[in-house]
Symmetry: C2
Subunit: 157 residues, 2 copies
């Protein structure tokens, strides 16, 4: 359960890597693949995906490559991963692509939605800054939500 796909892992690595470079540095697939030891063809797909998601900006031709569309602190974990995970839900009930009939009658739906919503919130709060400088992130914390709200699992709806 909840292991991300390998593409997602590569995506995380890529963004982490780029975030450590100079703000608008451009890096090619080939370079990145070599340095992070990732199969180049596959990494290409991943970066294309990230570009389509608006996280990266591509420039073709000689001397081209990819660069971050915005600073790491403004990129959320969920955004990085979403292009490569069609199923982002704990249980079949949620998520558009459901093979499982029973959807309405399902007795798991309601209780699970509590958990689901909660996890989502966490993943949205977590920015890629955590991957660049864990320490500052840990002391700074997520920005969008107050810590108090984070207790809401097990309290109100």
């Amino acid at each position: 359960m909840f292991k991300v796909s390998r593409k997602s892992e590569y995506a995380l690595m890529a963004i982490q890597h780029m975030a450590r470079l100079a703000p608008d540095a451009v890096v090619s697939v080939a370079d990145l693949a070599a340095q992070e030891d990732i199969p180049a063809d596959l990494l290409a797909k991943v970066l294309q995906g990230l570009k389509r998601a608006g996280l990266l900006i591509a420039s073709k031709g000689a001397g081209g490559g990819y660069r971050l569309a915005r600073p790491a602190g403004e990129i959320r974990f969920l955004e990085v991963v979403r292009p490569f995970e069609e199923q982002i839900a704990v249980v079949s009930c949620h998520s558009p692509v459901t093979d499982c009939q029973r959807t309405d009658a399902c007795s798991l739906r309601d209780p699970m939605s509590v958990l689901n919503a909660y996890l989502m919130r966490q993943f949205e709060q977590m920015t890629m800054e955590l991957f660049v400088s864990p320490h500052t992130w840990l002391t700074t914390g997520p920005r969008t939500t107050t810590p108090a709200e984070a207790t809401s699992l097990g309290r109100r709806a």
Copy 2:
């Protein structure tokens, strides 16, 4: 990402179902399968797994079946699901069964372990009581940990 296997779903349904019966009621695979509309042979496997995990008690022979080993409030979500998910980790780094080399050099390991530990804690706090009477659970909340501790993501280690 993080969708549980179908077996886990069945496991959750089964325990939820049994928790709604009289405390020590015994139910057979066949009955349960019929009532919850689950392929019987498969459900059998699932219940065997839950028994091996110590969550259910089986009695063979005529009039036999399964019953809960302890009340729902003392069964944690993670326990129910674990027998059917060998990979309980967000990223390859963690989890014993890792195909991914790079384990030590991996730049994802540390930041992810923060998230990982946090999720684990959540899943451990959540009892199956949530599936039986969501309302009371929501107002009562998890018992093992104080709400204050729940804020720990994004704060200390």
